[in-house]
């Protein structure tokens, strides 16, 4: 056989079997156990319909605006958890890290008289250093992440209590710190931001199509891209309209969504992001491909703790104080639960930071709805547990589906 008989790639077997219609994609994903975010979106719609039926104040602009503020801080911590879960690891220290960074922020700005901006930067650096320490112990000494961060959970809580001292609470005066969570964008600013987001997304989608076409590669059908752009536009318009009808788009929510979008781009479009998925998918394959596995692991733990620190800062901003219970109680569990509910696999290598946002909205909705219909927090915990369990079961079942189809 000579080279002449080898079919050219364009007319080869690849081109024939390549179909990229929406329906094919859905079928393939269901078969392969790659459902992505759809179960959560459907679950969220069910939750909203049920609570709206039980109490017609649930879907009001005021309640949804409050909901957005409620989920911001924990959602931010959850974003960091997504990164660690992508590696197939866990970080149990994020609640205490948020707490200790909140305490450091308040001590520096109130007791030491640092400027708000300097104190915020210092708190973020503290978070990063904590992550660097925990990540290094994990990656270089081989201590399981579970144990390192469990020790961190206790240790950083201790440091938080030590920093706050005997009073236990530091009130933060109005300033840059409190502005983070208590500023609302003006109506016009909200619309402009929304417009920019939709325009950027549409530009990216259609220029991507054009570049694929000019490279002679099959692209998604025009309808699929249109549906995506229109879908995003609808979500953005609805969100801005609702939030504008009650005080405007909160700055905190914008920070969260902006960072989620940025992180999503880093994960999907850079070698660093690709390396994180590779380490989470098959650590040995990543190592053989020349990826510096330890550096990836340490950087991810550093980022996770930095997101936790940011979450702690937002908690202070919203509560106007750093207390002994900032970042304590159910913050850690809600952050992890949010990521898992948002479709991030506990087994590593699958998920998106958008999942953290989605999971936070689900958990926030349950919590807010339960408060509205005046259900005791005991019931709220049990319901939240049931939702989390359902998400984990879905994760495990779809993993099994992938495995069986993978060998089929």
């Amino acid at each position: 056989m000579t080279n002449a008989t080898i079919p050219p790639p364009a007319a080869g077997p690849l081109a024939e079997t390549e179909t990229r219609s929406v329906w094919e994609l859905i079928k393939r994903r269901v078969r392969g156990g790659e459902l992505g975010a759809w179960p959560v979106v459907i679950g969220l719609i069910v939750i909203w319909v049920v609570f709206q039926a039980l109490n017609d104040r649930f879907l009001t602009a005021q309640n949804l605006s409050n909901l957005a503020l409620q989920i911001t801080a924990v959602g931010m911590i959850s974003v960091g958890i997504v990164l660690v879960l992508l590696l197939g690891e866990i970080d149990l220290s994020v609640g205490s890290v948020a707490g200790v960074c909140a305490a450091a922020l308040a001590v520096l700005s109130v007791r030491r008289g640092w400027s708000d901006v300097a104190a915020i930067i210092a708190a973020l650096v503290l978070g990063a250093l904590i992550g660097l320490l925990q990540g290094t112990i994990f990656a270089k000494l081989g201590v399981p992440a579970f144990v390192v961060t469990l020790a961190g959970n206790l240790g950083w809580l201790g440091l938080q209590l030590y920093l706050l001292g005997s009073e236990g609470t530091i009130n933060v005066p109005t300033g840059t710190i409190t502005d983070l969570m208590n500023t609302k964008l003006s109506q016009a600013a909200g619309w402009i931001v929304g417009l920019i987001v939709v325009a950027l997304y549409a530009l990216a989608a259609f220029s991507g199509r054009a570049r694929r076409a000019s490279a002679g590669l099959p692209a998604a059908s025009l309808r699929t891209d249109l549906v995506r752009v229109i879908g995003l536009a609808a979500i953005v318009v609805a969100t801005v309209a609702v939030l504008n009808s009650w005080q405007g788009v909160p700055l905190g929510l914008l920070i969260l969504v902006g960072l989620v979008a940025l992180l999503d781009l880093v994960l999907r479009k850079t070698r660093y992001g690709r390396s994180i998925f590779a380490v989470g998918g098959n650590i040995e394959a990543a190592r053989r491909a020349g990826i510096n596995v330890a550096a990836i692991q340490i950087s991810v733990f550093t980022l996770c703790s930095t997101f936790a620190a940011l979450g702690g800062i937002l908690l202070v901003s919203r509560g106007f104080s750093a207390t002994q219970t900032t970042g304590a109680s159910d913050v850690l569990l809600l952050a992890i639960a949010g990521a898992v509910i948002g479709g991030v696999s506990l087994f590593g290598g699958r998920g998106s930071p958008w999942g953290a946002l989605l999971g936070a909205v689900v958990l926030g909705s349950i919590s807010s709805g339960m408060l509205l219909i005046d259900v005791d927090s005991s019931v709220r915990y049990m319901i939240t547990a049931a939702v989390l369990l359902a998400a984990v079961i879905l994760d495990s079942v779809s993993r099994r589906g992938r495995r069986s189809s993978g060998r089929g």
Partner: protein
């Protein structure tokens, strides 16, 4: 077959010892461009050790390696890949969660201004897979959704991205079905057509006879003959692998042909063969 005059890779006098175990003794092996050399041998014969010597994972204690007629040192994996030796290990080392393109370019992604050049990578992936006639549902499907043969094809295609001259395949057809095995053997033949030297480790003598141009047998860490698979029967290769005319395979055949009730003779042969194997190690 159009083999060149001089080997692209030639090993001679290779010896390696692990503590008290002499894993390889004075082994030689040559691969010519456009040639498929099958490396066969029983478990523990030193096949994997020899592959590790070539791949730079476990360098030899003594011996000479010549690359395109120049003596070279291979002391670490980067030396081997730098020369143009690609190794496809048995456990594939693919990331199930990543798609075919991402796996092909893992660790050497193309970028444009620090952003992944997905279009460039997908284009090259399609060209490469198309030229190898690898059939896949899509290059954007996660590797988890592929069959064993397709996964092996992706792993082999990935080794070709570095433009190697010699490819080492460690048991590429182990654990594959009949059709998938044929797929992979077709791919091995296409590597030969591209003028690559292929070293194929296999336990499956049918596969070996199907694609190999030369069969090199290792036994107890030594060369135990090289055969032309077209001129040699499977029995002769088994004989070289086990080192005995009277081996488990021939005995099994004899048993099935012999009248029943003859088992006592079989068991007495067993013990003598074991001694024979040990003696065979010296000579």
């Amino acid at each position: 077959m159009t083999a060149a005059d001089s080997p692209v890779l030639a090993l001679s006098g290779i010896s390696k010892r692990f503590g008290a175990v002499q894993a390889l003794t004075d082994v030689s092996l040559e691969v010519y461009p456009g040639e498929v050399v099958a490396l066969v041998g029983d478990n523990g014969a030193g096949k994997s050790t020899l592959i590790k010597v070539i791949a730079g994972v476990g360098p030899a204690d003594t011996g000479e390696i010549r690359w395109e007629d120049r003596p070279v040192n291979i002391t670490k994996p980067a030396d081997a890949t730098g020369l143009g030796i690609a190794t496809v290990y048995q456990d594939l080392a693919l990331c199930d969660n990543l798609d075919v393109v991402a796996n092909l370019f893992l660790g050497r992604e193309l970028t444009r201004t620090r952003v992944l050049d997905e279009i460039g990578m997908e284009k090259r992936s399609r060209e490469l897979l198309g030229s190898l006639s690898v059939r896949l549902p899509s290059v954007r499907v996660p590797v988890a959704g592929l069959s064993g043969g397709q996964r092996q094809s992706v792993a082999i295609a990935r080794s070709l991205l570095g433009e190697p001259k010699v490819v080492l395949l460690d048991e590429p057809t182990a654990a594959l079905g009949v059709a998938q095995t044929a797929e992979v053997l077709d791919l091995v033949e296409r590597l030969r057509e591209r003028g690559l030297g292929v070293i194929l480790i296999s336990h499956n003598l049918a596969d070996v006879k199907a694609v190999a141009d030369r069969v090199v047998v290792l036994r107890l860490g030594r060369n135990a003959g090289a055969f032309d698979p077209d001129q040699t029967s499977q029995e002769e290769i088994v004989q070289a692998i086990t080192g005995a005319l009277d081996n488990a395979v021939t005995r099994r055949r004899a048993r099935s042909e012999a009248p029943p009730g003859d088992s006592a003779a079989g068991s007495s042969v067993d013990s003598s063969v074991d001694e024979d194997r040990e003696l065979g190690g010296e000579g």
